[in-house]
Symmetry: D2
Subunit: 289 residues, 4 copies
């Protein structure tokens, strides 16, 4: 294997000796362990590991590694995935009217802060095309009405498949994706909800936040699931506000929270920091990365 | 009038010249304006003012002041209140099992940080009596069952009335007060809810926060109203948490948020910083106080 | 005067009746007061006001207004300025290698979040030219060596004057401007320092933050003054970090703090929210804006 | 060994296979690994581990465990310590005038949040004796003048030794301890500095923060070392402030930051979460504890 960083994400029922067994396995195969992060959920009796390996100097091939690992994984009931760091994720961004998250992602990608390939921006409006063009990213305008929703989603799916998209980012895309769409991309769609979930689920959260007189507003990035606004939460943040904020001011302040929260969530996904278990996202912090 | 700080809280329909008229009034009566804070709600077309006056050197009596002020207030539709700063508020604290908020309030009161008189602690359990006794505050044990609820609330009301209590603090009191009780003390009951409202309204918020996998937990201090957990929000704060937190850990981290949020809300109330309008609390910051 | 928002910023020795006198003045001239924010510094015995007026319906001309206001201002020792909201500020951005603040400002300006005109980007390197070009902003490359510093600054000054620049933003410009340059633009140069001032003044703050093992890193936006990193602080923020952060990680996390802090400071300046007094910046919050 | 939680803290030069070797060792001795946290400092080429073990079911004695562990530790250059969780730390609190941190620690200890024994409060003033007495903790009044400093420190040292004190908490103790004193208790003295270090080192930080016009104030808990305010930082936090805060207001707001930061630092120390390396404190988060 080439010199590269290999990341395994593992979850399984908790058991005596798991750390020793797993780290031993990689040590014996000639890997140096760059970082090894664990989480034991004693309530569910579950064990989670994110282990980053330096493959420099190892002779083992990918397929051999996986075959051997399976021998360890199977009896212990591992659910696992591996990323070899030799291929950037292909990302598609879905937008409607709001530009702040789109700018943020395109800029971070361009500056190397988000290590991925943005294959396209898809929108149900023409409005944000100039931004995609500034960054030389293809822009697909796919309008949608109640009657054409099914067809539009089909077109999106074709675009995603044709471009081998690995991650779909809903960067303030104001359409509700169908269950059928969402179920095709499990843990592959990240949405930003413009409130501190589970507060203000659904529409118009800033207006409702104003009416409720909250003193903090927030944003939540989560994986999209069939149940709207109910998917595993990846990242959240809030900002302090006062009675003097109008719904418009809340929206503006909220936009800065949204862009940061969404960017952090995408980065966590790209860097293989997330394991989803039931409806909870285990998000390991970066470790010397 | 003696040398003292007089605070007026005013709300009314917005109108041209309100600042000039009001500040002129006090200026002409010989007051020096220590601070004058305003908030215009353009959506509701409402005007709010908190004005703090130095009465030093004024000859006008309280009743004269109020009579004259009424002449200004009536035609302009003021809703107003005045506090002369010559009398500390009497406070009663309601508790059940959790001690952290009780400690915090008693200690802040003792150290002069909360400028009020704690007349009593009332509880449906004996558990926290030793804490009240440490601080030499009377402790009333009034147990409650479904059948005795009405009678117990009556006893509480008698205690509050006999002690001329101005403010009731629900410092993690785990009973739901009846509408009849709450309506007797409008904007005089402050509750601390152990979550970031409107998220996780109702029971067991930390357990539900754990299950939802949130990345922030919060606390909300609000005035108690008939609609449980729906009253005007005075103060909120959050703390960052991770997937690695159990419901117990969340509870512990949350306790530190709760105590600070509740203490701040009480301080705002005592210092006449709050005007409630519809279901929103306008909370003016301290100004050189 | 046209229908527009007029903002006065006033500072003077504190005195009885100032609010009444000032608000009366504007009321009598036919202005509606949109917001009137005050701050009394009892330590220095100084009074500060930011008052926003709706000029709709007033007949008075700008010069008449100012002449009349001077009659009030002079005997009371006002230091004051007025902004008529009919002209956008011209902004120049100085950069070197780091792109994050530049992107942020250009994008916010383009989206209407920063209501100003970006006249140019000036840099001692060619590196960031493509970003300026994406946003159709002229880019001036003015390299500098120890020997050419004086001449380069002269060229910058000429550019600024020719373009009637009102505000200079040092968006991670890694050259130290001479005193002579800085003194030409008092309270017109905003700098972002990549640490929580006064911690880590000077060079390499992230490296030093790493070595010191801090648990928070921050950023500070301030007006540039002769004393490097000592000018009036406009805005600060911090982000939590851990022992696991390398100087590079700190730099990356810090970049997100820097961009937000700088954008907020620019916005405060543009919206006439700041009065500098001695070395302190009084920054009034937005009020229903 | 009894059923209990055993915690090892290990630091050593980084090396291939360390995780595997260490976890293997404990696995082979019959321990279940509750949590295993690591940190690799690639800059210094150092490895750090905090490993928590469940000793239930192991037959090995403490001395056997340590002898065997030494065989692993020596060739790999471990610096290590072990805590068997069967003995609470003895804590002494040093105070002067400010009460907020003292209250906080005593209350948290009493409520089980800080799992330690508070053996005594020592002060150079009589002022806070009533608080210690409320909590039934011995209070030693040891006044100090320039001439008696040496003698007073000697008396403190005798008290600490006689009471087998493991941890000394400077809870706003306003005397500078001598180098000779500090060197007797390496990594055993925690101090709270009332500012965001390294900003405002030394005296009167709130007054200087006011004069500097900062927009955030903070607090820093660190181990005391010979170089005043320069020891390894354990925990920091900040709170937002405005120009409207006087030095007194800053002090009051700061007090709430101080008490939380100090309590968190003490908890980290008590729970064996800290490894000091050079002047940096590696502070592992709690993990399912």
């Amino acid at each position: 294997m080439d010199s590269q960083v290999v990341t395994f994400l593992i979850s399984c029922p908790d058991n005596k000796g798991l750390v020793a067994k797993i780290t031993n396995f990689f040590y014996s195969k000639g890997f140096n362990i760059l970082s090894c992060q664990q989480y034991v959920n004693a309530i569910e009796n579950m064990y989670f590991m994110r282990i980053r390996l330096n493959a420099e100097g190892t002779k083992i091939s990918k397929s051999d590694l996986e075959t051997k690992f399976l021998e360890l994984a199977k009896p212990l009931g591992f659910k696992w995935s591996v990323n070899y760091g030799d291929k950037k994720l292909n990302v598609a961004i879905l937008v409607s009217h709001a530009s702040h998250c789109l700018y943020d992602i395109l800029e971070r990608q361009r500056e190397g802060d988000l290590d991925c390939t943005v294959k396209m921006v898809i929108s149900n409006h023409e409005k944000l095309r100039p931004i995609a063009e500034m960054f030389n990213v293809p822009y697909y305008y796919l309008p949608v009405t109640k009657d054409t929703k099914e067809k539009q989603e089909e077109e999106i799916i074709n675009l995603l498949n044709d471009n081998k998209v690995d991650l779909i980012v809903m960067a303030r895309y104001m359409q509700i994706l169908s269950s059928s769409f969402i179920n095709k991309f499990p843990e592959k769609i990240i949405n930003i909800h413009h409130s501190f979930l589970p507060a203000f689920q659904g529409a118009n959260p800033y207006k409702r936040a104003y009416e409720r007189g909250v003193k903090l507003i927030g944003a939540t990035a989560h994986y999209a699931t069939e149940d709207l606004d109910e998917g595993p939460i990846i990242e959240q943040a809030v900002e302090r506000v006062t009675h003097d904020c109008t719904p418009q001011t809340l929206k503006r302040i909220g936009a800065d929270v949204e862009r940061l929260v969404l960017a952090k969530a995408i980065k966590c996904h790209i860097q293989n920091q997330i394991i989803v278990s039931k409806n909870r996202a285990v998000v390991f912090p970066e470790s010397g990365e």
